[in-house]
Symmetry: C2
Subunit: 302 residues, 2 copies
């Protein structure tokens, strides 16, 4: 078992390496200009490059490694997913949505720039992600690139992340039962998490069983991640998490913690992590890092 | 020459047919649900299906017809482009941007729903457009689908439409010269117009010269369209245009009219239309409808 505060040192090293690598790739990919519209490009960079665990890129590169995918290709796809994740955070933080002032301990994009620039920076990142995925440098086979585009659009679109965010807003005015909260989280975060693993399998032209196993793993992991997020929201240290604590409770949002209580929520997260790891059995020891990552979700403090 | 108020009856008929056809395709493609997140889907439909000239779908289907592309495929690509156009209108109308109350004579999406739903409806439409383009029903060749995705992302992204919108916002606080206004319009509307024609050529696997000719045509047409839009903004009848008249002038935005005066702006539009038509010479009489469309841009009242 890892210590309660940090991932095991070997996992932590791998995660740190992945963060550094994907940050370099994103920094290179993100457009820049001296033209008068440059505040847009600065805001996009600010929204992407100001920290973050890079959980999705890590899932993608680890999944891709199971199939011996060229790491530079995996990093491009990982960057595209992280652009989409960051766009969603920028839009979620807007005054009309969560009205958040801090993200990763720094002013949110609409506070650092302005609301209009934040909306456009999000739009720009989302659009740019598809440009990166469909580029032949991401994969030589256009079939693979198209499959990445289709699956990202499904995971991030109205039937996935955007729909989940809509549910989240509705949940502020309406009490959801546990089933609807689970559905909300599957859509809002689970689908993109699942795609992060699936993208590794797509890049590696994996068989259906392997692809499915990775999706199921990521799905359970994503839900466990969300349950622990809800726990951290009530008991986490804002200095660690970089977020305003208790925000969901103040917004009157039903969370796993408010619905089932902290103890049951923790049990649920543990069960989901065990379930996530079981999906990986077909990869035997090659998936040990993904297993360690699942354990880490239970013990993380940020 | 068409009468000053309407397109020639044959052009008008073709445009009406195209509007009806693409509206049907969009209505079929747009997802719907009874699930609790249904306001998102309603807002997406509202933002797309409440009117509009469907200029981009018309350009696409006419260009595709030059290469005998299956019309049902052209309509799918046309729908995707119109989803992107409509998302851009929804976001441009937001309080943090143009703060518009009316669009096509009806309340804008954030007035009919709310601001958060409007942001998400735009995000959903943009994402969904890529799902439609990358689907094998749009073309059997994944190379063609990938090229559509790449070129749409470039036209709509930070180096295109989103960057143009950023320039537009900056132009409210800063006086632009004619060169920067032209650049703004090329990015904000020209790139997506050009892609509308280019997409027809991509679907039809056209040669480079034909693809280039159509792009150049659409580029000049788009700029002419914008110049006439500026003229209509100062002299148009709000009942015809469905927009608040003089909005740009009140916002202090530099337009072609404010920079060069109405007469010179009209001359510029005429010159652009002539230039647009000249690019079509390689298609001989097969491109007559696109030529008529260019003439129509000069005489339109809405």
């Amino acid at each position: 078992m890892p210590s309660p505060r940090e991932a095991s040192s070997s996992l932590q090293e791998k995660m740190d390496e992945a963060v550094a690598a994907v940050n370099t790739t994103m920094g290179r990919l993100l457009p820049d200009t001296d033209d008068p519209e440059s505040p847009l490009f600065q805001a996009m960079r600010y929204g992407v490059l100001s920290g973050g665990k890079r959980m999705r890129p890590f899932l993608l590169t680890q999944s891709a490694a199971l199939f011996y995918v060229d790491p530079s290709r995996a990093r491009r796809a990982a960057a595209a997913i992280e652009f989409v994740h960051c766009y969603s955070l920028i839009h979620d933080d807007l005054p009309a949505m969560d009205n958040a002032e801090l993200r990763r301990g720094q002013p949110t994009v609409h506070r650092a720039y302005d609301e209009a620039t934040a909306i456009l920076a999000g739009d720009g990142l989302l659009t740019f992600a598809f440009e990166v995925l469909s580029d032949h440098e991401t994969h030589e086979d256009p079939r693979v690139r198209c499959e990445l585009v289709t699956q990202l659009a499904r995971a991030a679109g109205p039937g996935g992340m955007v729909g989940g965010q809509m549910l989240d807003l509705i949940g502020e005015k309406q009490e959801f039962d546990l089933g609807t909260i689970s559905r909300l989280q599957r859509m809002k975060t689970g689908r993109l998490m699942a795609f992060s693993c699936e993208a590794g399998a797509i890049l590696g032209r994996a068989g259906e069983a392997q692809r499915r196993a990775l999706c199921n793993y990521a799905h359970d992991l994503g839900l466990a991640f969300q349950v622990t997020d809800d726990i951290l929201d009530v008991e986490g240290n804002p200095e660690d998490t970089g977020k305003d604590g208790g925000k969901d409770a103040r917004a009157g949002k039903a969370t796993f913690v408010s619905t089932m209580g902290k103890d049951q929520a923790r049990q649920r997260a543990e069960m989901l992590v065990e379930q996530a790891k079981r999906h990986l059995h077909i990869f035997e020891h090659r998936a040990d890092t993904l297993r360690e990552l699942a354990d880490y979700v239970l013990t993380r403090r940020t």
